[in-house]
């Protein structure tokens, strides 16, 4: 944006008063009013003559990729010549960012100056910072010239990941080192294990040609099975998951849970995938590695609650993407969806280990209306209790997650079931 010059209301008032006093002094031959008007004119003209020169402004930040609850230090360096007048600086922040320390709005004297402040991001998502607006004022605040520096810069806020040492809670085969574990039996893997006779269904590339040359019999390589856990999250991000406040609601809790557990499993060389259903169904196939973790976190950051898709339809659509024998976490408040049992049944029938982590949407709703107990609340609560019991009797494990318990508690509960 280019320069903008604006006269303040003070200047308008001074100008109008000075002019009026000058005219009145001539009409009434008043020395007093003439004095007032001459002083007023002198002050206005002198102040308008002294405005600071345009400075150079640069912004430096710790990081533009953070997690919920993290803080970012920002420093704005203003380099200009000294002199009379004032410099007003405003670094625009997205309304979802919170200033923790200092201020993004400051008045400075001209010269070499710096403004420091710290902001935090309580909510995941993509937030903007900037551009920086600078106003150069005359000494008596009559007028200013405004300039804009830089472009909008994007800050990415990933969901919060519970950082407690949870690896020790991961049960299962005692892995000697992180990553793949060899199981001393035949299975899909990369390490050679044994040779056996060829059968017609064996792939051609597994034929051991050296053994054939020696024995004149077709034989194939067999490999050692590796332990790589596949984990699939089915995340409910329909409109009903917004019950509660902007920062605390079933969807945000589920996302933080998913981010925490995915981080844990991916850093121990397992594969994690994500199926998100809202107004449509999106699938992130299970993969491993830190790149995949970043991709997953970006997907979680981008989620906005919408639509009314059902779990049943989602499972029907995405069964092909769920690896066999993988563990499935269903993250849903289990409300406003008549197909839940049908969807869970399909997953269980396919042999998946199903864990349902359900932040209680009913309790989040109640917390917003100051804990009032209404007939509607009681009905919904009863319906939820019955549904959870039914799901448990079907063979799924269900974690009923109340609002007062945090993500760490939920993760610990789930890991203790292993």
């Amino acid at each position: 944006m280019g320069r903008v010059s604006v006269f303040s209301r003070k200047a308008m008032g001074y100008g109008a008063a000075t002019l009026a006093l000058f005219i009145l002094s001539l009409v009434l031959s008043s020395g007093l009013f003439l004095m007032m008007s001459l002083i007023g004119m002198a002050v206005i003209l002198l102040s308008l003559s002294f405005i600071p020169r345009k400075p150079e402004v640069t912004r430096s930040m710790d990081s533009d990729l953070i997690h919920e609850g993290d803080e970012v230090d920002v420093e704005l360096r203003v380099q200009g010549k000294g002199g009379l007048g004032q410099v007003e600086i405003l670094d625009r922040l997205s309304p979802t960012l919170r200033i923790q320390n200092g201020n993004n709005h400051a008045f400075l004297s001209p010269g070499e100056r710096s403004v420091r402040y710290t902001f935090g991001s309580p909510l995941r998502g993509y937030h903007d910072i900037g551009p920086t607006h600078v106003r150069r004022w005359d000494p008596l605040w009559f007028w200013y010239r405004e300039d804009e520096y830089g472009e909008k810069k994007r800050i990415t806020t990933f969901p919060e990941r519970t950082s407690a040492d949870m690896r020790r809670m991961l049960k299962g085969p005692n892995k000697q080192r992180p990553g793949d574990m060899h199981l001393r039996r035949v299975g899909p893997g990369k390490e050679f294990y044994s040779i056996r006779d060829y059968v017609t269904t064996d792939p051609f590339h597994t034929i051991n040609w050296k053994a054939y040359a020696r024995t004149r019999k077709l034989q194939v390589n067999q490999y050692e099975a590796e332990s790589v856990t596949d984990l699939m999250f089915i995340l409910d991000s329909r409109m009903v998951t917004r019950a509660g406040t902007l920062i605390e609601n079933p969807l945000e809790r589920s996302i933080r849970f998913c981010a925490s557990l995915a981080d844990l499993y991916l850093t121990t060389s397992n594969r994690v995938g994500l199926i998100n259903y809202s107004s449509s169904v999106t699938v992130l196939k299970p993969e491993g590695g830190t790149n995949h973790l970043t991709k997953l976190l970006h997907t979680l950051t981008d989620i906005t609650p919408s639509g009314y898709h059902t779990l049943g339809a989602t499972v029907n659509y995405s069964l092909a993407y769920i690896p066999p024998d993988s563990r499935v976490f269903v993250l849903s408040p289990l409300s406003e969806d008549p197909t839940i049992k049908e969807g869970i049944k399909k997953l269980l029938a396919r042999g998946h280990n199903v864990v349902i982590v359900s932040p209680s949407g009913v309790e989040f709703e109640r917390s917003v209306i100051e804990g009032m107990i209404t007939p509607r609340y009681l009905l919904k609560k009863l319906s939820r209790i019955n549904l959870i019991e039914d799901l448990r009797s079907m063979g799924a494990r269900v974690l009923d997650w109340p609002p007062e318990k945090d993500v760490l508690w939920a993760v610990q509960e789930v890991l203790s079931w292993d």
């Binding site: 209301r9 003070k10 008032g13 001074y14 008063a17 009026a20 006093l21 000058f22 009145l24 002094s25 001539l26 009434l28 031959s29 008043s30 020395g31 007093l32 009013f33 003439l34 004095m35 007032m36 001459l38 002083i39 007023g40 004119m41 002198a42 002050v43 003209l45 002198l46 102040s47 308008l48 003559s49 002294f50 405005i51 009379l84 004032q86 200092g102 201020n103 709005h105 400051a106 008045f107 400075l108 004297s109 403004v115 000494p139 008596l140 605040w141 010239r145």
Partner: protein
Amino acid sequence: MGLRIRFIPFVFLGGYALCIWLMFPSFLEVSAGIYRDLSVPYIGWALMGGVIGSVYYRYREGLRKRIKNPINKLGLGLVLWLGASILISVALGEGDLQDRVLDSGLIRAWFVTMFGIFMSAPTFLGSYSILARSKEVFSLAILGLIIVPLTCMIYLQAQSVSVPRQDPLLSLITALTLFGFVETFHWVYKYDRIDVQVGNLFARQLISTILFAGVGSVIAFIAFSWRSMIPDIAAVSFYEMDTIFGTAAIGLALLSPIALLAIVRSFREGK
């Protein structure tokens, strides 16, 4: 900083009222025109206005809880009082209709009250605007503070059909007190806040204000004292110099270099 800064505009407001009192000793003639025995000097009205303004600010919440829209109700009350006074005077007075109204004690009391309100309103508004940090009320206060000397001048000129002389030095001090009130109010408005970083700006603005006011005062004083500063030679003296127009012209001439500076710097900045 808050309490110290807020104290300063009160000083200038009081100083302005004092200067007006000194500048217009014939203010009592103005009040005598309203009521013969009304001998409250202007400083009395100003002081009363300042005190009532401060008290009103302190108890405004309580007052508004008891009486909704107290200012509107006061205005309505005054109008009703005038109407009732006129009716009572017409109904119960003696003599002609005109004599009944003009000689009525009730109506005279109403005029005295209105005069008191108008004379104390500028300082009432001024003190309230400082405490409440209200720009709108401040603007009304400035208007009132200018109207007071204006009223005196017009009245006295109309009475005596001549221009009463105003001492240049006292005029300068009066002008500076008004300027000081305006600027120090803006200090309170700008710097008596905790949500913005301000650094050493207050000291810089204080210096700039004093500097510019000083230059303006010198220019204004020279414009008025020009006559006594130059020798009485025909080439450099002219009749109009002694008139207000001449003084204004000299003042504008002295301001022209500053105006030129402002224009030149504004063009340079524009590039």
